[in-house]
Amino acid sequence: MEHFLEQVLNGFQLGLMYALIALGYTMVYGVVQLINFAHGDVFMVGAFLGYFGFAVWGLPLPLAILLAMASCALLGVVIERIAYRPLRYAPKIAALISAIGVSLFLEYFSSLKFVFGPNYRVVPRPFPEIQWKIAGLTVTNIQVIVFVVVLIMLILLQILIYRTKTGMAMRTVAVDHNAARLMGVNVDTTISITFAIGSAFAALGGVLYAIAYPQIHPFMGIMPGLKAFTAAVLGGIGIIPGAVLGALIMGQVETLTSAYISSQMRDAIAFAILILVLLFRPTGLLGRTETEKV
């Protein structure tokens, strides 16, 4: 039983990190209906920049995190400007192929020796790990930090989206680009801001991931990226609470599969869930069904 609860706790931690990535997917999908395939690689870049920040350049951890978030926000904006904007009103698949290309570019470019290098790197802990025993349950300070940071970010995001003008612009663009333009919203800027926020969240997720699972390499973003995408679809893509809910479910599924079935099966089960959700409830758990009009 305690073993089970500990696994649930581990799954919760993993789910929170998936939530940070899934938010970027879901926000971007909301405004441009594009599966931003490169998002998982922005997460990887964030993890590397955070690692360089606190472990190589010796910056204090919060500063390293901020640096990673700011750089990735910029990266996200640049990606959108170069690779997605020319294809915004082209067929959906064209932009998706472009996104796949950007994803491969980030992975292989990062693998070059003068960039991040192709090898695995072990991330030193920026602070010692402390374990507390609470009612027979082991809780680490990393879990607490992850929980608090993610909670703060979710509250900030909620405020941004529902209480500010920028957030209102984002919600408008999500409904209709042309109508938003007629209402005086600068669609291009709003989309850039969405990419910036989503990428910054991914970078934060990357740094936290590197601290919690201290090993990073240029291809580390693929699987968390795909699973976070699955989470976003599971919760209902375009819906922010849905992304968090989906991510928490994915975290549990993955951890419990590794613990009780087989760690090799966890990817297969995660993607089996994706296919089943797409088949039986393509709009996700919290989504509404829409009828297609001719």
Partner: protein
């Protein structure tokens, strides 16, 4: 049987190509290394034509093509490894079974997931590809002969250039006849507008599944040949990066163009090898970067690909050219 003029030219062209390769073999220009590259290119042509049917002509976006290529490779390879003993008849049988198994899996998975549209279908097939990869890595627990994550070797290497070339020719003709048949036209109409096709009385589900199964069976056949030409099979050779390879070939060549798919497939395989020779050791590092840049730049600069909707006349049956008068596009976007 009366051959049309274009078909005749197709066979003459193929014969000239074959003769050139043979001459180069005798002169020693075509070293065994480049022979291997050429064989690889022809194998990729077969697999890419499969994806061309699925995505280029029917418009069903698949990111899991390499999974079927892998299923064919493992099925044919393992069968021949265990029962074959270098028997040519059994070799063909194993290729056929490999293609059939890939087609059967495509049917079972296609039946539910082909209801999905565009990018969702892509993600679902990508997920399926990852599941297949996990299956390959753990397949040795059920069948030790598959080798699991360490890879499989020991398949008799029976596929040689002559044989691969003839198979590729047969497949090109088969795909050509499919595209220019009623079935092909139904598939193209689905790509252009699924709802309109449905309204016109085309059983869209049936044709989508037909195209998907046929395309995946071709991938399985290509995989089976690959298993008999390259002695070592590894799950990493069939993951989604390989699927992107096929996708890149079909998109770069131009949607709805066999000519584009065939030329790009051969050109792509040779380009990578030439780069390897020119750049040497650095190439290994830069390969992925160049690859990704080509993908992004080509989709932005020329989203319709090189030969979209255009075919060499060799690849068009005669009567269509007569019927359409000035029309120069055959199966591409209708403009």
């Amino acid at each position: 049987m009366k051959l049309s003029r274009n078909t005749l030219f197709f066979f003459i062209g193929s014969a000239i190509f074959y003769a050139l390769v043979k001459i180069m073999q005798f002169n020693g220009i075509l070293t065994p290394y480049w022979q291997l590259v050429l064989d690889q290119a022809l194998i990729i042509v077969i697999g890419a034509l499969g994806l061309s049917i699925i995505y280029g002509f029917t418009g069903q976006f698949s990111l899991g093509h390499a999974a079927f290529y892998g299923i064919g490779a493992y099925t044919a390879g393992a069968l021949d490894k265990v029962y074959g003993n270098g028997n040519m008849l059994f070799f063909f049988l194993s290729l056929l079974i490999g293609a059939l198994v890939a087609g059967l899996v495509a049917f079972l998975i296609g039946l539910p997931i082909l209801r999905l549209r565009s990018d969702y279908l892509g993600i679902a097939t990508l997920g399926f590809g990852i599941i297949v990869r996990v299956g390959m890595e753990n397949g040795n627990k059920l069948f030790p002969v598959l080798g699991g994550a360490t890879g499989m070797s020991g398949t008799p290497q029976l596929a040689q250039f002559d044989l691969i070339f003839i198979l590729a020719l047969i497949i090109i003709l088969l795909v050509r006849n499919f595209i220019f048949s009623t079935y092909g036209r139904a598939c193209i109409s689905i790509r252009e507008d699924e709802i309109a096709a449905d309204v016109m009385g085309i059983d869209t589900t049936r044709y989508k599944i037909l195209a998907f199964v046929l395309g995946c069976a071709l991938a399985g056949l290509a995989g089976g040949i690959y298993a008999h030409r390259y002695p070592f099979l590894h799950p990493a050779s069939f993951d989604f990066l390989k699927s992107f390879d096929f996708l890149l070939i079909v998109v770069l060549g131009g949607l709805g163009s066999m000519t584009g798919t065939i030329i790009t497939a051969i050109g792509w395989v040779f380009l990578l090898e030439v780069l390897r020779v020119v750049l040497g050791q650095d190439f290994i590092d830069w390969r992925g970067v160049i690859y990704a840049l080509i993908l992004v730049v080509s989709i932005i600069v020329r989203p319709q690909g090189l030969f979209s909707g255009k075919e060499f006349r060799l690849l068009v049956p005669e009567q269509l050219k007569m019927a359409t008068g000035k029309e120069r596009t055959y199966a591409g976007f209708g403009n």
